[in-house]
Symmetry: D3
Subunit: 320 residues, 6 copies
């Protein structure tokens, strides 16, 4: 344990100083030797409305500076069990979305080859498709917990198949998903037809619309999710716009009537015990929240993801 990386503590360097890495962890050039790694994908060219998620990884890292190592709610102490570092950003090609997707997949091939589990700082949601493609090469099709305001299963947007509204349709086409173990949570808003949400249901996916879970603890839902998924490899993709804009104003395709941070924390904490193989937190757009709080929430959720990775004990009784 003594040789595991630790976040730089506030008693060594004021929180507002020190390296602007995720949680002020050491930077690493590659994922080799790591159990888990934070990776940034500074991309917004897949977005269809407000831009800005290209600046997401930088602001998430900046606002992660307050995160201390121990999870007061769950008792998780991830840095006592996992070797973790921040391996920097994927060099996307900001002038070519399709090339960026290729670059992301190649990058994750390399990361996954080391055995490290990636926690991704987005970036727009397009990025989940190439990650899932890389995942499939290692794990085969995976279960999916997809938290979002939108289903992101469009056949195309403006005639294009690569866009932030399409990643899960593409992943499905590429046979990346265990259809009976796909859960979409928080969907809502306006669309073009019932198929926007029902298409997934037709593939066997479980779709939980936001309206079904208003005012409620999501602990029972997550218990059901865990029971269904069992020990299958599972990927967690968390779009910050799943949250109501009250809780996460800094994002691009805002839909009122969303989840609360209480529910968001329950969802991530409710993943403890699953066989997580990767996680992402996407769609934080800094220009639309100059306070930094949306990024800060994103940073916290990424930390909570780290806390539920395989190998990290939850010492407190599950509250959910």
């Amino acid at each position: 344990m003594t040789n595991l990386n630790q976040p730089l503590g506030g008693n060594e360097m004021p929180r507002f100083g020190g390296p602007a890495t995720m949680m002020r962890l050491p930077a690493a050039d590659s994922a080799a030797g790591l159990d888990a790694c934070f990776v940034g994908i500074p991309m917004d060219i897949g977005t269809s409305n407000r831009p800005g998620t290209r600046l997401g990884p930088r602001q998430i890292r900046d606002e992660s500076r307050m995160l201390r190592p121990y999870n007061m709610a769950t008792g998780a102490a991830p840095f006592e069990h996992l070797q973790v570092a921040d391996i920097g950003d994927v060099a996307i090609n900001t002038f070519d979305l399709r090339d960026s997707v290729r670059r992301i997949e190649a990058h994750y091939d390399t990361v996954l080859a080391t055995g490290a589990l990636p926690l991704t700082l987005g970036g727009d949601h397009t990025l989940t498709w190439p990650i899932l493609r890389a995942m499939r090469k290692i794990h085969g099709p995976v279960a999916l917990i997809h938290v979002d305001a939108h289903a992101d299963i469009n056949e195309h947007m403006f005639g294009e198949t690569v866009a932030h509204g399409c990643p899960f349709r593409r992943a499905w086409e590429d046979d990346c998903l265990l259809n009976e173990h796909v859960f979409q949570i928080g969907l809502r808003g306006t669309g073009y037809s019932p198929d926007d949400f029902d298409w997934g249901r037709q593939q066997g996916w479980t779709v939980i619309q936001a309206e079904e879970i208003w005012y409620k603890s999501l602990a029972p839902l997550m218990e059901r999710v865990r029971a269904a998924i069992g020990d299958r490899p599972v990927y967690l993709s968390f779009d910050i716009d799943s949250l109501d804009p009250a809780f996460a104003p800094g994002t691009g395709t805002v839909e009122p009537g969303g989840l609360s941070t209480w529910q968001a924390l329950e969802i991530v904490r409710g993943c403890a015990g699953l066989n997580l193989v990767g996680c992402d937190l996407v769609e934080v757009s800094p220009p639309f929240d100059p306070s930094g709080n949306t990024a800060l929430i994103g940073a916290n959720l990424l930390y909570e993801m780290l806390c539920v990775l395989p190998g990290v004990p939850q010492t407190n009784d599950r509250k959910d």
Copy 2:
């Protein structure tokens, strides 16, 4: 159906382009031939604290650009049933509040004469009084669902009878309201005496203070409201400051402890089946929410109002 106006879709023009009309609908010079119309009233000279609602209609229209035609929660598809357009703004006299009130009434006389049902983008709450006066000429006194942090029944403010804290007192004096069918929802905060809320009760109005409905689904309340109002003509006036400032920071007379967007959506969706004759969404003040999210929520609520107008089927089971 084929000749009904449709919002300009995201597959034809990126969401961040195209006309800055409500929902990127066609602009129309008048309400003639329409079933429903969006009207802006760019006014803030009736406000008593922070200004800015004069800029509300422009920002609501701008932020309405993401709205797609189909309501994923209720199954409503308003543009398959109603001819709708954006008929622009009322030319208020920004240097004279009383003249502005006269101009609004005259404008709505013209709109109502066409048979079109107006959905109003405010603007400060003063505007509901002249609209209700115009309504009365067509419908007689109407039932009222008034969602707000404030009762807005002041006899006067600073000695004046025309102000954004007085519209419902004036409407009552003008015999515009069916007193047994007036519902005020969300009232709270500080006042001068119990009469601030009790005056309405003395007229037979039902006043639901915010504290009574915290943490709760409002579906049961709306069921009660619908049962009481029956098929009487009813006007819906929705002040965005009914929402807690967490959900709607961009407004002028903020009161903590308010409604959530979950409740706001339930209120509007709970109007399905009523004989709505007009709706307004008031008090969005853009300078106090540069993110645009308060206006975006306002735009969504206006769309939800459109979805519950008479003639628009709700194909999904009522969740409330």
Copy 3:
């Protein structure tokens, strides 16, 4: 009653004009002759992350301008029962934290000597320690209701014993607290070890973590608190970061998953009947909420504290 100070009303001076004192009350040079007084402590040199609370008292006063004298929820009319004024700010030494602490204690010694009950506008949380020291001289150890995201019981921060993360450890060392009657509400987030919250429990304190009270009315909790404390002197310290950042974005050490304003109002209103001897509202950082809404919520909570002071009847039935 006729000679009690009244807030300047909106019918005499528009809300956006008049003196920028708390609630537009008269300013006073000292607390002599007052039952309760508002005091500002413009300090942020005890903060460990984002600064800005030095500007808190000014913005809280500015945004208090909408507050009317009567509490619509509880029926409290404090200005009919108490002589209240705004006695201005403590002249802290912004270049020396320890000297500032001494100055605060000396200032409160003077205030308390007059018999007036102080309601403090912070400022960072360091300030509660010297206030509690002054309180002890008058009241002996007091019960404490501490609403916060953090326990603030660090033995030291960066080797220092005076900091905004330490006030309650220092107050405990100074025997200012009735340990069996200390309640910490809203704690959450990340820490260094379980002791961050358990140390208080080991002293006999009651610690209610945020997760335990999500989605719930806190009226039952406050009933329990009241029963436990009885008529003992009790101090209320309310850190605005106890609220979820959705509700109070303008603060320095943000932790998602916090309280709602609904709960915050229930906590303060739930103090009615207690023998309150002082209250503070701390950690509002204006630069991180340019809308002013966080300060406005702080101003409302301070008003609600005034409404539950001994001697102010609650004429409405307790809703909690």
Copy 4:
């Protein structure tokens, strides 16, 4: 000198604390006994584009907190020669522009009757008309130095004669001005016809368009102005939108290509030696500059006005 009011110094109270009066001067209930007084007029109902100047006086006062008593450039030490206080705000009627104008005139009648010279914190430019009407009763028609992007001599706006684009036309009609001694400086932008600027010229006014003075020191211009006006009573009306938006972004009717702060300071400092009878600084709109810097510049210009009042020696050589 020892009994003259002094601004509260930074060595007695940190700059970010203390009373939010102009320069942290004592507040006074009336102008009686004062040589000069700061008066606020919190009004924006005369504005034709962006609102917000109603909040101007409060933010100007707040941002005046850094002002120290001595003018490093000119050697003026106004508080050694004049008795000065902040006499608070005019209670305008925010729901009725014409009544507000009447109230302002009546208020200034009272102020001027005391012999105190008023320095006004606006508020929109409508306010200068009633002030000039009050001035005329004491001084007869006055010379005028009017610094602005706009001529503000519209016969009417939207059919109205009272508006922020009309004050100098009204003052001219009311015979308040010495036409041969009216100077309009900084005019520019778009209009309806050449008459927008030429009408004044036809009355004998001197109009200096912004383009004529770009890149230049205005000391020579002010020398010419002083020579022309001589010892006639003169009023200085300074619209912050005379400045280029780079220098003063927080205003309502922005015109690029304006003055710099260098020129603004030269204009005000160039008034030393004139027989000033009153000054105003108008059109600061806080919501459009959350940094507070526009208000801060306004506060500095008001201080500079104080420094050139009759009776305040300029001990440094005139740099202009």
Copy 5:
């Protein structure tokens, strides 16, 4: 003249209301029958640093609402001489930069076929390349006045030939430019080598670096430019980042030490008499200037471009 489109005036509709078209002109479906047209290109996928210019056309139109028809500085009255309308936006493909470039060129082919002269609201600078390609088909190679902080002549960026740093290199390759009559004004900042600016010089272009023109009127420069270009067809491309960030904070690739608005106005006004065949104003990024002032300056510059089009007399003596 009576049948020429006029901007909607402030005496008919308050400035903050009415259609959000450029200058509140009539919207038109095509350029047919127009002398000049405003066109929006809502694009930012060619940007290399901060995003947001996709929102530029909407905010420029919104902030153009204050523009009156007559130019007070130059006496130009464009709407008395030209038929002008706002023909809306180009439907770019926001997921594919190369396809967007093709779409822009096709759109301008259509516009230019009508004989209307396009004034373009950007959008990132990539868009000038396809416009120049369309121009060439009508006019052959054109002279160019290019105002910018950057030369935008990169051979490639991140290996790509289409990007906002490359349009003039591409236009050069496509033989769109009269090399002896290309003027680049305002270049500055950091680069990779002297060639960043010297490459253009090697092609015969005139490059005026910002440092050469600090503190100076640019009237003499523009006289030189006019003399050199004579009556050749000339295109004006104005990147708002040519301005110093003090004057135009809302842009993506900021370089300090830039032009002032005084100089910007002189440049555009100095184009009077040239045979302008098209103009653009690019790189306004709304999220980085919530005040709207950068967009407002952009709107003013577009209006000034309209004022110097062939056929619009300048009735005032040239001040430059």
Copy 6:
């Protein structure tokens, strides 16, 4: 040259990605082996008005991401001549200003012992005093070019000798300065007496008030400065508030009438040829400029400082 550190280029990683070090240079643990190093001092506890400079180093680094290696104005190519890295932040004690000063001095002792020349990212101006103390041990008393709105030579502030208004008084007391070679540029605003600026003059310092240099190129001034200083060791301390708030809004003690970025660049570029031994850029306060532009200007000025260090040739003719 091939083994010198280079900033990460935009063709390898998009500008909005990559490490958030200064100019995206490699991070280093110490200054050993470096010719020059960037050091951050995240401190604001020495500030007397608005806080926030503790966040300065992080935002300056973030906004430095656009800086390319070659200086287009001067031809300097520092990374071809110097080994440069970012050595991170000084761990100040944010709860104790005096201890922080000790820590800074100790840190710079270590840095200077390596022979590396430090370029400091502030942080409030207090920090220059301990740096000058460390400098003295190596270089003896040094010449000083101090660019600022304030003289910062207070004997004390609020009774304290350590504060951001005192560093040069303390440095003078500690015999750190060559009095005949101290230049203070840009001073202005309000003060307590003429001594605020004259005290320095009495020590033999040259004080250039802002008013003396308005509208002017500072190249002649810098020529004079260079002639006077000759080859003496010289320290450059640049307070961003020397700039007019138009150019640098994000700072704490704003004074209108300041320098332009044109002048700021001339000052730094005018240091070429001097024997610089260290430089700092202080008082950037991010919360007061959410656009990031003030930090971006600070980053540019730091780069310009690097460009004039001894050993970096200026290949272009000096324009000043």
